[in-house]
Symmetry: none
């Protein structure tokens, strides 16, 4: 089934924001086994939106559009659909009630302009809004369908998963398209992209020669790790899945402990799970990452069970007075270890992480940008002053300030993951 | 003059990479005063590329395409143009020599596949390659023009600046169009998107009725604030700029202190600048945001001049022991103020921020997700135990966990901005 993505918004045409929604929807469509042959972007203009929708509906079986459903005057995707199909917009009282209640809960009256978000083209089905104020809309156009989703990514993702993806799969099945695509992402850390490629080179070639099913692709993704995506196609879901799983086993054997997670699983979630298994809690002391490690950990729901807190020791005096970092260079292995140990003491945790280094753009203590020390400390048991010691690593990270901070964050968490893993393994022996 | 961007590449459709080229070209076109009404993405397929080029040339005066000029089998933009216009591809010996010499300089023989990059559609003009191996191509189509540029951003930017932008400007001038577009983004916080829209509603309507020049658009952007973009068009750059500035003054008057920054300026940069002006340094104590405030501040180069550090007090015990938060509920105004004051003491700063609340998905201390207290404290002068007190705010923030944390971050920084601003103002009186 051919499904096409249309993103609406003048800010996209002007290059003021990146079209992350189209990329996200593209990846989702591929994962669902849909053919996505085109993407379009159009500004906030009734005639031009209608023109693009008409073209997309002519060449594809379904169109997923995002953006232009907001409360302000420039948001006109609803009006464009009404004009294109020559159908009226009707205010939906049930939708309006949801919008009003959202404002009530926030203790504010609903501005009159938000009422527009309850306007529904006649014959459209409402996809209820659970996060924002705009509902999604599914508009039947002959045998085809046009989905209108809000532009804010969280709302878009929610409606896609809850309503659009299941319905598109049903439509594909009803057309007798039972070809199924399964894909899985193995998340890795500790091998460079080229080292990964070398380990998989023979397998990669063998798959290509056998017709490219399953297939393997790499994607370096900053703090999310280097992703290895395996995609398999079969006549049925079961066939695709069994191809996929056999290939996953082969790839895992080639990559060993570099694989830390699967699909959406972040290294923060993996570390959290290991900490819960061992009954430890984590404290973090960070310098160049400036809170990024703590923030990434807290992004995991339920983090309070295994994360006590963090110290952002940006000032050298804070490193010394609060964390007990010894005099001397603060971009050093000793400083990283002292920070990790200090985090345990100060934050009452059994395990600690320390990060110190140079994010750039300028050098620090004579070290070029990208010079980073990460350390993992503990476990420190109650009443103990020093525990089982720690591990530290010197890293030379590429890229600008933000990338160095992201790569330092995942490197520190990976160091802790491997330390916790090996401790479990050594106890089991 | 209407110019349209087409990006070629299956990896874009699959969401494996972001379409940064289209965003970059969009911003460049706007700066050059060109109207960009549409963008398209199409995969590496001769028929579909030809279809998209044909559609784009029909509705625009020029098309700038990028990607699909590489040496591998899947790169087929050249072939698509030849097929669409029914013209042959001819190998250009001069272009081939440049490609060969590039490999020679790198000490490697030229792979046979790279010779394809010297294939030029009959009648096309070559834009010499100075960085990569693929030349750019300018193909006249009647009175219109189709530009083919390589996908690697550095090569694309080089050819755009060297050859395409100057030629498009000439074409516009030859058509008697000397129009120039200027735009500016005002970043705001403290008014909801709909409250902003209401304040600007009359002005919005007046501009629409007067022909839509200048124009105003809104964009809610999470931690980046709510953006109000003003765009003005004039016969000359000077005319566009003076229209823009007059409109900016009007909008600023309507929005008042909600405007915190311009264009790329973040609230972290604004707060940093205010702190430097006043000679204060900032320490941060955060709970639900878990390091996001500190991380956002550290993202500003040179933050070490005004940011001492932060404490992520995720555990209630850390809040009490380390920050001196009194017994009682930790989701409270008192706790937020105590955290802000504790940050000053602990981190040796004159000014402090405190954030406590419920990010979700579950309730906390009986408060629904989105209940957040932010507090700004200080300035605390050396040796002082308590300073000029603090400000606190109770917020009810919408959205999921990540959005609540982002909105809490910008809300806390905005509270500090207003506090620093008003203190400067009261001293000046």
């Amino acid at each position: 089934m051919r499904v096409e993505v249309v993103a609406v918004g003048t800010e996209l045409l002007l290059g003021q924001i990146l079209n992350t929604n189209a990329a996200w929807l593209g990846a989702e469509l591929a994962a669902a086994g849909m053919d996505a042959e085109y993407q379009s972007v159009v500004g906030d203009n009734v005639e031009r939106i209608a023109l693009v929708f008409r073209g997309a509906l002519a060449r594809s079986d379904a169109v997923v559009a995002c953006g232009g459903l907001g409360p302000t005057q420039d948001d006109c995707t609803r009006e464009a659909v009404a004009a294109m199909l020559n159908i009226p917009l009707k205010r939906d009282e049930a939708v309006l009630d949801v919008i009003r209640s959202r404002f009530q809960r926030a203790g504010r009256p609903m501005p009159e302009s938000n009422a527009r978000q309850a306007d529904v083209p006649e014959g459209a089905r409402v996809i209820p809004q659970t996060m924002g104020t705009a509902p999604g809309l599914c508009i039947p156009v002959g045998e085809k369908a046009l989905y209108l989703l809000p532009g804010p990514p969280a709302e878009l993702h929610d409606m896609w998963e809850r309503a659009v993806a299941p319905e598109l799969r049903q439509r594909a099945a009803a057309r007798g398209e039972t070809a199924s695509i399964s894909s899985r992402v193995l998340r890795t850390w500790g091998l460079s992209e080229s080292a990964l490629a070398e380990r998989l080179a023979d397998r990669f070639r063998a798959l290509e020669e056998a017709g490219g099913n399953p297939s393997i692709a790499f994607l370096a993704s900053g703090i999310e790790g280097i992703k290895v995506r395996i995609t398999a196609k079969g006549a049925t879901e079961g066939e695709a899945l069994s191809l996929l799983e056999a290939e996953e086993a082969r790839v895992r054997e080639l990559l060993g402990p570099a694989v830390f997670g699967v699909d959406g699983e972040t290294i923060a979630e993996v570390v959290g799970r290991l900490l819960v298994e061992r009954g430890f809690r984590l404290g973090v002391a960070e310098s160049l990452t400036g809170g990024m490690v703590a923030s990434y950990l807290v992004n995991v729901p339920g983090a309070s069970a295994w994360f006590t807190g963090g110290v952002v020791a940006y000032d050298a005096r804070v490193k010394r007075d609060l964390l007990g970092v010894p005099d001397g260079p603060v971009v050093s292995e000793d400083a990283a270890l002292a920070m990790a140990a200090g985090a345990c003491r100060l934050l009452g945790s059994e395990v600690g992480l320390g990060l110190t280094g140079v994010a750039g753009p300028d050098a620090g203590e004579g070290n070029p940008p990208g010079t980073v020390y990460v350390a993992a400390w503990g476990p420190l048991h109650e009443g103990q002053e020093s525990g089982e010691g720690g591990d530290a690593r010197l890293l030379h990270l590429p890229g600008g300030r933000q990338q160095v901070r992201e790569l330092a964050t995942i490197s520190a968490l990976d160091l802790l993951r491997r330390r916790l893993d090996s401790q479990v393994a050594s106890r089991r022996r």
